[in-house]
Symmetry: C2
Subunit: 214 residues, 2 copies
DNA sequence: TTAATAGCTTGATTCACATCAATAAAATAT
DNA sequence: ATATTTTATTGATGTGAATCAAGCTATTAA
């Protein structure tokens, strides 16, 4: 595990002692697809660090539909704010695919690591990343309509082939699969995109961009 | 101005030298009501610190309606993320009432202050506050319907008397004044609230709470 | 004091998207 | 290979909130 920890970008500035201590206060856990990591309101005893796989952070709206706040894919601190502020988790978290998560005893982590500016800088970076994601979520959901959301989503993913079901894509964009499907249908009819073995190809980038470029 | 800076909670840990340098690289400006502080896309040369008054951070949606992302009232860093990341401002900012803002030359600020963990901690605190506000904005706008938003808003403000027009209240909640008015009408008809010289009084806390307590 | 302007309320209409429903297609299990 | 479950598509209907419109009230200006 020591080697694994050393490779994690977040810990790039840690020396051997740091890593050793980190290892001592952590457990590595593997969760299978669709496992709950924590519920909204749970006590934030552990700092969760996603090492492999993907997670979603979500709440429920008043119709009991999930509202996805963010999706985490790369190595990242999960809900570090709750730890920092010693508050319960503000949202739910579950795995989308099989995932490896490092659970760190936060109190010990805090007293050892959070005195030093190099570690603080790590937190600043992570908080910054979180803010950018949240701002993106807000822009996406509060300033764009569904058609624009889908257009932007396709545009930003392309040409990365990352296979996701339409259902997941729709939920990432906080809309129903029906709405997503109808919009894709429209884009295909307008010859903006085509679908080849589950991946979108953009046929008319300019027109597609017009849908979300304000 | 030196005394003013010393009183600012954010700078509580600064010593005389720090304050002196801060003063050297800053200008204090007073903006009147409804002045633009910066536009989305502007270069983030200055760190803005709100000292007095109130600001709104907002974008436009596709119908050219304002979407208010946050409202700042207390002493706070404004859009510090843009500075930290050396990126253009992601949103617009304007004053709601007359406001005093400290404009700090960010490059100088960074090279002097951001090496030290005590200053970093200040940033961490500010980023944390920003995240909490953003999460609140998201919860409010993505998980609650308009009725619940209004109920929550009234509940959380009460009994603080802070005079705001219905128009401003509506825009804080990202809805039209018409919708706001209709919901207030309904609450009055249900004897949940009453209005006395521009302030709401809650008559039935339990029922009001039911509207937003999931 | 009156005029002008901005904010508030209420009704009618429109719109974007969700919901409900039915069928088809694909993925997974047996 | 067949059965079963999950996902995808398409149409019909419902709904919350925006928009449009008109009259009203309060504030500010002349």
């Amino acid at each position: 595990m020591k080697d694994l920890l050393k490779q994690i970008p977040i810990f790039e500035n840690f020396n051997d002692d740091d890593i050793a201590y980190l290892q001592k206060i952590s457990t590595l856990k593997t969760f299978e697809k669709n496992s709950i990591i924590f519920f909204k309101g749970d006590d934030s005893r552990y700092l969760h660090i996603l090492l492999q796989g993907s997670l979603k952070i979500y709440k429920y709206n008043q119709n009991n539909n999930e509202v996805m706040l963010k999706m985490l894919n790369t190595t990242s601190l999960v809900a570090e704010l709750a730890n920092l502020e010693h508050m319960p988790y503000p949202s739910n978290c579950s795995t989308l695919g099989e995932s490896k998560i490092l659970l760190v005893d936060y109190d010990k982590f805090e007293s050892y690591f959070l005195k030093d500016s190099k570690f603080l800088l790590m937190f600043v970076k992570s908080l910054t990343k979180t803010i950018l994601m949240l701002e993106k979520t807000i822009s996406l959901n509060l300033t764009l309509n569904s058609t624009s959301k889908v257009a932007k989503h396709i545009y930003e993913l392309f040409p990365n082939t990352c296979h996701m079901s339409h259902k997941i894509r729709a939920s990432t964009l906080n809309m129903t699969p029906e709405t997503y499907s109808r919009i894709i249908r429209k884009f295909k009819d307008e010859n903006l995109i085509k679908e080849e073995n589950g991946e979108f190809k953009i046929l008319d980038e300019k027109k597609l961009k017009k849908y979300f470029d304000i």
